[in-house]
C-alpha cells in the first residue's frame, strides 16, 4: 500500500535530518532542521492512523496538532528569539569535528537498523522502521548533547532525544491516553522554555554560551 511507503520515506527523512543536524555548523539552521523534523513527526500519527483504520480518530489528531503547534512553531520561535536577543556567535563549535560526528552518527544509524529489525515487538508495528528510527534518533540526540559545547545546541540535542521518544511513542498510539501525552508535550514545552531562560541568563552572566567554561563546580 502506498501510505506504508510514505511512512517509511518520512522515517528515513527523519534519520537524514538527524545526520544533517550533526553536519550543520550554524545554530539557526540546527533549530530549523529540528522544526522540519518535528513537522514530519507531527504528520506521522495521522499517516499511521490512516493506514491502520481508514478513519481519523480524535486522539491522533490531537496529538498531531499539539505536537505541531508546540515543536514546529512555539519552541523554534523561543529558541530563535534567544539566539537573536543574545547576539550569540553563530558557530556551533563542536568538541568532535563535523565529519567525525557525521561518521559516528551514521555508524549509530547503521547499528540501530541492524539491531532494530532483530528486536521483536509483541504486536507487529505498522512500519518495521519505527523502532530503528526512534533508537537512532535518541542516540543521535544524545550524541549531540555530549559532543556540542553551545548551550543552545544542547537544548536542541535534548529536543532530538524527545523526538526519538515521540517516535517510539507512536508504536503504542492506541494505548497512552491523550491526557498523558498532552501532559508530556506540555512538560517538554516548559522544559525548553526554562532552558531558554537559563541559556539567556548564562549569556548574560558569562556573556558566552560555551558550556565548556561552566566548570567552576568540581571536587577540589
Amino acid at each position: 500500500m502506498m501510505s506504508q511507503s510514505i511512512i517509511d520515506a518520512a522515517l528515513i527523512l527523519v534519520v537524514l535530518l538527524n545526520l544533517a543536524m550533526l553536519a550543520t555548523s550554524r545554530l539557526a539552521r540546527c533549530v530549523r532542521i529540528f522544526a522540519m523534523q518535528s513537522l514530519l513527526l507531527a504528520a506521522l500519527p495521522l499517516l499511521l492512523e490512516l493506514q491502520h483504520t481508514r478513519a481519523l480518530g480524535l486522539h491522533p489528531v490531537a496529538i498531531a496538532f499539539g505536537a505541531a503547534a508546540l515543536k514546529v512553531i512555539v519552541i523554534p520561535w523561543v529558541l530563535l528569539r534567544v539566539l537573536r536577543t543574545g547576539e550569540i556567535h553563530r558557530e556551533v563549535e563542536p568538541m568532535i569535528g563535523f565529519t567525525a560526528s557525521m561518521l559516528l552518527g551514521s555508524l549509530i544509524v547503521i547499528a540501530c537498523f541492524a539491531f532494530g529489525h532483530r528486536l521483536v515487538l509483541p504486536v507487529k508495528p505498522q512500519s518495521d522502521l519505527l523502532l530503528s528510527v526512534s533508537m537512532a534518533t535518541v542516540l543521535n540526540g544524545l550524541l549531540i548533547l555530549v559532543s556540542r559545547v553551545k548551550a543552545i545546541t544542547q537544548v536542541v540535542g535534548f529536543l532530538i532525544v524527545e523526538n526519538g521518544v515521540f517516535i517510539f511513542g507512536l508504536l503504542l498510539l492506541e494505548q497512552t491516553p491523550v491526557l498523558v501525552e498532552l501532559g508530556i508535550l506540555l512538560d517538554l514545552f516548559v522544559a525548553v522554555f526554562i532552558m531558554g531562560i537559563v541559556v539567556y541568563h548564562i549569556r548574560r552572566e558569562f556573556d558566552h554560551m560555551d558550556t565548556n567554561l561552566l566548570d567552576a563546580l568540581k571536587e577540589s
Binding site: V120, L121, P122, V123, V138, L142, L145, A151, Q154, F158, V161, E162, G164, V165, F168, G169, L171, L172, E174, Q175, T176, P177, V180, E181, G183, I184, L186, D187, V190, A191, I194, M195, V198, H201, I202, E205, F206, T211, L214, D215, A216, L217, E219, S220
Partner: protein, 495 residues
C-alpha cells in the same frame, strides 16, 4: 481528598503570586504547607480506598512518601521564614515554585498511572529549577544548568522506559492502561524482554534524578549552590519521588517474577553509590557537598535494601523515612552555619559548640543520625539491611556494605568534628541576625523539631508507624512471593 493534596499548594502558590506584600507571601507559604500537613494527618485518620483504573489513589507506599514530603515541606517553610533575606529578587516566584514543587510531588506520590507519575516528576524538577538559581550567582547558574539538563535527559530516558513497558503490555488483551494496579494484576502476561528493557531505562532515568552513582554528579553542585532549605527539599523530598518511580517499575517487575533479576541491578547500583560516596566524602572540604554525598550514600542504601527484598525493603522504608528527617536537619544546620560563618568550607567553620551551643548540639545530633549511630533510626535500617543480606547469605554485599559505610563514617566524622569542637575562630558574629532572635529561634526550632522526631522514631517506634512501614514494604515484596502469580502462571501454561 486526593484533589486537596494538589489543589491546596497550588491555590496558596497562586496566592503567593497574587499578594503584593512579602510578609503576606511568606505567610501564605507557611499556611499552605501547614494546611497540606493537616490534610495529610487527616488522611491518616480516615480510611482511604483505591478505585481501580483511576489516575490518582493512595496506596501504603505512596501514602508514606506523601506524608514524609508533607512533613519536610512544613518544616522547611517554617525554617525559610527565619532564613530568608529582605533583598530577595522575585521572592513571590520562589515561594510559588516551592509550593508548586510540593503540589507536583504530592501528585507524584498519589499517581497510579506511570505516565501521570512521569509528568508530575518532570513538573517537580521544572519547579525545582528556579529554586536552585535562587542566589542569582554565576555558580548557582552553572549548577542550575547542570541540574536541568541532566535531569531532563534522565527523565526523557525514563519516559522511554515507560514506553517500553507499554510495549510490553501489548500482548495483554483487552488492552490495559499503564495504571500500576492493572500492570501488577496482569504482570504475568507482560512481555518479559520489553519489561526488562523498560526497567533498565527507568532505572537509569529515575536513577539520574535520584542521584545514584554514576549518575549522581549533578547532586553536589546543586546542593552546594542552592539555598540550604531548597537543598533539604531536593535531597529529602524530590529524591523520594524518583525513588518512588523506581519502586513502581520494580513492583511490576516483581509481580512479573523478575524480582531477583531487578533486585540484583538495584543492589549493584546501590553498592556503587555507597562506594562513590565513600570515595568522595573523604578529604572533602565543602560541608554542603559532603552532605550531598551522604545523600548519594543514603539513596544507595535504600536501593540496596529494596533489592534484597523481604526484610531489606522494610529497612529501606525505615531508611527513607529517616533520610528525609535527617537531611532536613543537616541542611537546616548548614544554612544556619552559612549565616553564622558565611562560608561553605569546612576549615572556616570551627568550634560551633562553644560559639553557639544549641546549634552545635543540633549539628552533632544530625551528624550522629547521618552516620547511623543509635539511638537514631538509620542505625536500625542499616543493621536491618545488613541482616537481610546475611540472611540471603550474600557475603559480598555484607562485606562491601560494611566497608564502604565505615569509610563514609570516617570521612564525615574526620571532616565535621572539628567544625563542632575546639575553640571558635575570631571575627565571627555571635548570632546570625544581630538582635533578631526570632529568626534564630525559627531556624533552630524547625531543625530541632525534625531532630527530636528522628530521635523519637529511632528509639521508639509507635504501632502506626510500624504498620505504615511494614505495609509499604509489603507492597514491594508481597506480589513477588504471593502464590497467586504462580497459580496464574500455571493456568497460562496449561492450554
Amino acid at each position: 481528598m486526593h484533589v486537596l493534596f494538589i489543589m491546596v499548594p497550588v491555590a496558596f502558590g497562586l496566592l503567593c503570586l497574587a499578594l503584593p506584600w512579602p510578609r503576606w507571601q511568606l505567610a501564605s507559604l507557611v499556611v499552605g504547607s501547614l494546611v497540606h500537613l493537616g490534610v495529610t494527618i487527616r488522611s491518616w485518620m480516615t480510611e482511604t480506598s483505591i478505585e481501580a483504573d483511576a489516575f490518582f489513589g493512595i496506596d501504603p507506599l505512596g501514602h508514606l512518601f506523601l506524608s514524609l514530603n508533607s512533613l519536610l515541606f512544613a518544616a522547611t517553610c517554617v525554617y525559610f521564614v527565619g532564613y530568608h533575606r529582605k533583598a530577595l529578587i522575585s521572592q513571590r516566584i520562589f515561594l510559588a515554585c516551592v509550593l508548586g514543587l510540593l503540589a507536583s510531588l504530592s501528585a507524584l506520590c498519589m499517581s497510579r498511572h506511570l505516565g501521570v507519575m512521569w509528568v508530575s516528576l518532570e513538573a517537580a524538577s521544572l519547579a525545582a529549577t528556579p529554586l536552585i538559581y535562587f542566589r542569582l550567582s554565576a555558580r548557582a547558574l552553572e549548577a542550575t544548568w547542570k541540574f536541568l539538563l541532566m535531569n531532563s535527559v534522565g527523565i526523557a530516558l525514563a519516559l522511554l522506559g515507560i514506553f517500553c513497558i507499554a510495549v510490553a503490555t501489548q500482548p495483554v488483551k483487552p488492552a490495559i492502561f499503564l495504571t500500576t494496579g492493572d500492570l501488577i494484576a496482569q504482570a504475568h502476561r507482560l512481555d518479559p524482554t520489553w519489561l526488562r528493557a523498560g526497567f533498565l531505562l527507568a532505572l537509569v532515568g529515575f536513577g539520574t534524578k535520584m542521584g545514584l552513582a554514576p549518575l549522581h554528579s549533578w547532586k553536589p553542585d546543586a546542593y552546594g549552590e542552592a539555598p540550604p532549605p531548597v537543598a533539604a527539599l531536593l535531597s529529602g523530598g524530590m529524591t523520594l519521588g524518583a525513588f518512588l518511580g523506581i519502586l513502581r517499575v520494580y513492583q511490576v517487575c516483581g509481580a512479573a517474577g523478575l524480582a531477583q533479576w531487578a533486585g540484583t541491578w538495584l543492589v549493584v547500583f546501590g553498592l556503587l553509590s555507597v562506594a562513590t560516596a565513600a570515595v568522595f566524602v573523604v578529604g572533602n572540604n565543602d560541608y554542603r557537598r559532603i552532605f550531598a554525598y551522604t545523600s548519594v550514600e543514603h539513596m544507595g542504601v535504600m536501593v540496596i535494601g529494596v533489592g534484597l527484598g523481604l526484610g531489606g525493603s522494610y529497612a529501606s522504608m525505615l531508611h527513607a523515612m529517616h533520610n528525609t528527617l535527617n537531611k532536613g536537619v543537616l541542611f537546616f544546620m548548614a544554612g544556619f552555619f552559612w549565616r553564622l560563618y558565611e562560608s561553605n568550607r569546612v576549615r572556616d567553620v570551627r568550634g560551633a559548640l562553644h560559639h553557639h551551643p544549641v546549634a552545635g548540639v543540633l549539628f552533632l545530633g544530625g551528624l550522629c543520625a547521618t552516620c547511623g549511630l543509635p539511638p537514631f533510626g538509620m542505625f536500625f535500617s542499616e543493621l536491618g539491611i545488613l541482616f537481610a543480606a546475611a540472611e540471603k547469605s550474600q557475603w559480598w554485599v555484607v562485606a562491601l556494605f560494611t566497608l564502604t559505610l565505615c569509610i563514609v563514617f570516617v570521612g564525615v566524622m574526620t571532616a565535621m568534628l572539628p567544625m563542632v569542637f575546639g575553640p571558635p575562630p575570631e571575627n565571627v558574629r555571635s548570632t546570625p541576625f544581630g538582635e533578631k532572635r526570632w529568626r534564630t529561634v525559627t531556624m533552630l526550632g524547625s531543625a530541632a523539631g525534625l531532630l527530636v522526631l528522628a530521635l523519637a522514631l529511632g528509639a521508639y517506634q509507635p504501632a502506626f508507624v510500624r504498620n505504615a512501614l511494614t505495609q509499604a514494604a509489603a507492597t514491594l515484596t508481597l506480589p513477588i512471593d504471593s502464590a497467586a502469580i504462580v497459580v496464574a502462571r500455571a493456568a497460562e501454561a496449561r492450554p
